[in-house]
Symmetry: none
Subunit: 225 residues, 2 copies
DNA sequence: GCCGGTCGTGAAGGAAGTGTGGAGATCAAG
DNA sequence: CTTGATCTCCACACTTCCTTCACGACCGGC
């Protein structure tokens, strides 16, 4: 059986939002609605929708900015709703990570067709979130499991997030400040040994050879190509 | 026989409401009655009826508005009761998501026939999905029954819905906020301990090994592929 | 080889998250 | 009205995790 998919609808006009939500629910989706940009980013972080239907015209910050932030946090397919037939919006939209678009006014039938297509393309392309495989290291983000050479390691939440960030750029040295900013969200990066502590944990659980220290700079994931 | 079906009756005339409720109970349904629009929306959110019998003439806001809101939250078959033989009401009613209608006065026999038809259509629509089988766990959505290793467990409605959502993405970690949003329909992320409570119930009834806790994130259904 | 700065490591205190039982509320049925 | 079932929330105990500190080892420039 196919899992029930969740759609986040970002639309400030209540009437449109309700209509879209009702139709998508009738299609068997779980639907959540928010009315502005900040709420959209927040909601996406919490509920991790399978797709987002996004109006470009929003209070707060505009849809393009929302789209950019969503993509920055976690790749998610986005269907943009553009009020006018404006090529500028469209091109920018596709540039910041939208996967498809609809020009208002649109029919509900058209909307559901696009959403289905988006999810189909998504599952075909990535089957949700495919495990990251780097040499003998395997990271399953959806299940939050990690194995090396087939053996599973139990990582703490921070260790897992740290490893995922390192794995995002294998063999690249990531400065401590960068890791603190990305994983911990700390702007201030002064004199903390916190990163080192968690690197220690990763090395103990996954093998000391996995992570290379670059003196005075940071760490890099050393793994076979 | 399948699990007992629940019907929500929305009707402000007490005499009619009582008569309808009595007859439907005699037919073996669980029946809840409310007398106005806001109460109807509220009740539907809580008890999740299998069908709604809805008078178009209501205090508060009218039946059409109720119907629209019900559909917006969760698709549910609606039988509308129209006082007069007014095509306008009827057409609008069907447009906003009502599935069938009855013109007053109507016979009880006619009412029960329509309700049965509504539910039959409904179960047929969802019977296309066979029971979910995951390892030794079997979930029959149509009958709302669950067995593990062949033994049936009696789950409360919330526990059942929660289990279905976990089973929709086996082995995938679902954040508490996501579950709260999908199962409870709470946009607001507070009260996440409620999830824990119902997980407790599931573990007690189905075995502690069925659900994996992922510290700081949420839960995942652990089951053989 | 020396020295200042950097890093690895173990331990410890405190913070955060989770399991659990039960109280209180709600609602329908008898 | 009372009973039974359910849901939400709370308090407490318990577990897991994070951060920091201290100390010794290491690195690189001189």
């Amino acid at each position: 059986m196919a899992a029930q998919r969740t759609i986040l609808v970002v639309e400030d006009e209540r009437a449109i939002a309700d209509a879209v939500a009702a139709r998508l629910r009738a299609e068997g989706f779980l639907v959540h609605c928010v009315g502005d940009g900040p709420a959209a980013v927040e909601a996406a972080r919490r509920i991790r929708p399978d797709a987002v239907v996004l109006d470009v015209m929003l209070p707060g910050f505009d849809g393009l900015e929302v789209c950019r932030r969503l993509q920055a946090e976690r790749p998610v397919p986005v269907l943009m709703l553009t009020a006018r037939d404006d090529e500028t919006d469209l091109l920018i939209g596709l540039a910041v990570g939208a996967d498809d678009y609809l020009t208002k006014p649109f029919s509900m039938r058209e909307l559901t067709a696009r959403v289905h297509a988006l999810l189909r393309r998504m599952t075909k392309a990535s089957a949700g979130e495919p495990p990251i495989v780097l040499g003998d290291l395997e990271i399953n983000r959806a299940e939050r499991r990690v194995t090396r050479a087939g053996v599973e390691a139990h990582l703490t939440p921070t260790e897992f997030d740290l490893l995922v960030h390192l794995a995002g750029r294998p063999r690249t040295v990531l400065p401590r400040e960068r890791l603190l900013a990305d994983v911990w969200g700390w702007a201030d990066a002064s004199g903390t040994r916190t990163v080192d502590s968690h690197i220690k944990g990763l090395r103990r659980k996954l093998g000391a050879d996995l992570i290379r220290t670059v003196h005075g700079v940071g760490y890099a994931l050393e793994v076979d190509r």
